[in-house]
């Protein structure tokens, strides 16, 4: 299988602090790869690097991000901008802050369509209604006229998903898309994402902290901590036979509805201490110091 996205030894620093320490991962065409990490692990940094949304004092120290044969990091701005939103799409985390609160939802959808696909106003509106129907929104024509705050959280997330798939992307980065949703809505949204992925033959990089969600939708997964990938592989393998102690600890600390209370074990402090010590040790290697 060919890889849609290959991240190769990515080192990113904010100021003098390293946030990504040699991250490598691959997303094959048409697969869903999970990126699991807790807060501070660097998952959002990775997404931001891909989209060129890093803060002003951030530097990409080393590494390559290859997408459809081109290195995203070294692409001229014009080219990168034409890719983002069209070939690579993002489903952001918080629908409430990701949608413009003072524009109607229809306008936001058509803006994307007209910019990337060059559709006329009429054609864009029709397509937008179709897209809303694709994400199982009833009465798409009426919903196009709504403002974000007039919709439920689940509906907003569906709109964001519609926007993401609007231009038939090859890769979708889903950044914790179900974290803020109720569990029943989460299931519906995950089912929706899967359906659209199959229809558009898109690959997905699914960023989350929820091991349960990873288990259900991701074929393969990478575990991130302190900006490093500690373990990766097929989800089925990693979750049943984890190699790294951190993965094991995360699994043991995850409450399960089917296991009694006694089974819950917090992540041992020594383990985390050790991992950070390792990370800082790596930082001091000559290859990681500022050029």
């Amino acid at each position: 299988m060919s890889a849609v996205l290959t991240i190769d030894n990515l080192h990113v620093a904010i100021g003098t602090t390293n946030v990504l320490r040699g991250v490598s991962l691959t997303v094959e065409a048409g697969e869903v790869r999970g990126l699991v990490g807790e807060s501070g692990a660097g998952k959002s940094m990775l997404g931001r690097t891909l989209f060129g949304l890093l803060p002003a004092n951030a530097t990409v120290r080393a590494g390559r991000i290859t997408f459809e044969g081109r290195d995203l990091l070294r692409l001229p701005d014009q080219e990168r901008l034409s890719l983002l939103g069209r070939r690579i799409a993002l489903i952001p985390q918080d629908p409430m802050t990701s949608l413009n609160p003072v524009r109607r939802v229809g306008a936001q959808l058509t803006a994307v369509l007209r910019r990337h696909l060059g559709l006329s106003k009429r054609a864009a509106l029709n397509r937008a209604a179709e897209l809303l129907a694709d994400v199982a929104i009833r009465e798409p024509a009426r919903v196009l006229d709504l403002y974000p705050h007039e919709m439920s959280g689940g509906m907003r997330q569906r709109v964001l998903i519609a926007i993401a798939f609007a231009c038939d992307p090859a890769l979708v980065i889903a950044d914790e898309p179900t974290t803020a949703l109720d569990v029943t809505v989460q299931r519906q949204v995950l089912q929706l994402v899967e359906r659209l992925r199959l229809r558009h033959a898109a690959a997905i990089l699914f960023v989350t902290h929820d091991l349960g969600v990873v288990a259900k939708i991701c074929r393969s997964m990478s575990v991130l901590h302190a900006g490093r990938v500690l373990e990766e592989g097929l989800t089925a393998d990693v979750l049943t036979k984890p190699h790294h102690a951190y993965t094991r600890a995360l699994l043991a600390a995850t409450p399960r509805a089917d296991r009694p209370a006694e089974a819950l074990k917090p992540v041992p402090t020594v383990l985390i201490e050790g991992l950070w010590a390792e990370a800082h040790r790596l930082d001091r290697l000559p290859s990681m110091r500022p050029a």
Binding site: T17, G40, A226, V267, T269, W276
Partner: protein
Amino acid sequence: MVDASADLLLTTSGAAPRAVPSRWRSVLSRGGARLWVGGALVSLLLIVALLAPQIAPHDPLEQDLLSAQLPPSFTRGGDAAYPLGTDSLGRCVLSRLMFSARTAVLVALIAASLAAVIGIAFGLIAGAFGGWIDQLVSRMIDVWMAFPPVLLSIVLAAVIGAGLTSVIAAIVVVDWTRFARVVRAETTAQLARDYVAAARVLGLTRGEMLRLEILPNLVPLIVTLLSVEMGIAILVEVILSFVGISASGDMPSWGGMITEGRQLVYQAPWIMALPIVCVIASVIGFNLLGDGLRAALDPVQRR
């Protein structure tokens, strides 16, 4: 005992802020340049106001008709005895500027404080009690703010008589609404926060809540408003002297000097220009100070 060091570790790994530097150092650094520049300007104003009798070269009321309309000493035609020149009655401009600073400080301090006290009281009551009391106070503020301030001041002056009392009264009467509105809005916003709900669950009475939980959150806001209001007071004095309310008489004021200097603006521009510079510097000083204080006093300030 549950392992506490796990959370401690989150601190060292950068997931939470590190331990705190000295309180005062962080307060001052948060204030930044605004605090220093504003503080310097305001301090200068206060020092000049305080020491005017000592440091002014002449009596501000002393007239020397033979030396009328002399330009500043560093320009052609100036006299070293009068560093910034004289006005149409031969009075030393520098001395008058200095004594006017006293007037300005007086007006600023008294008017701003009174407006603050009245406004904060109404604002707290409206915000804390809500309901019809809030409605009553809010509508009253709305109506009050609809009156043209200058007109209101003229009416006041007609009743009280022209002079500084009139100026101060006019400022208080108009500007208390500014404090009331802001304090009311902030109080209402605070009351909706969870820590007020938490305070209720802890058993605090409404009075205790206002005093212990909400007031600390209002202090930075009030300090800023007060500072800005002082700048506004100085400006109002200038405006009202144009309308003849702030009579010069014994106490020179920048507004009075500007009004007088207006007639001679082509022949002796310095008489009007110099007090304007003083007003601008003072107002900028108060505004910067207010902004710097707001940043400095807010432990959670996001710049």
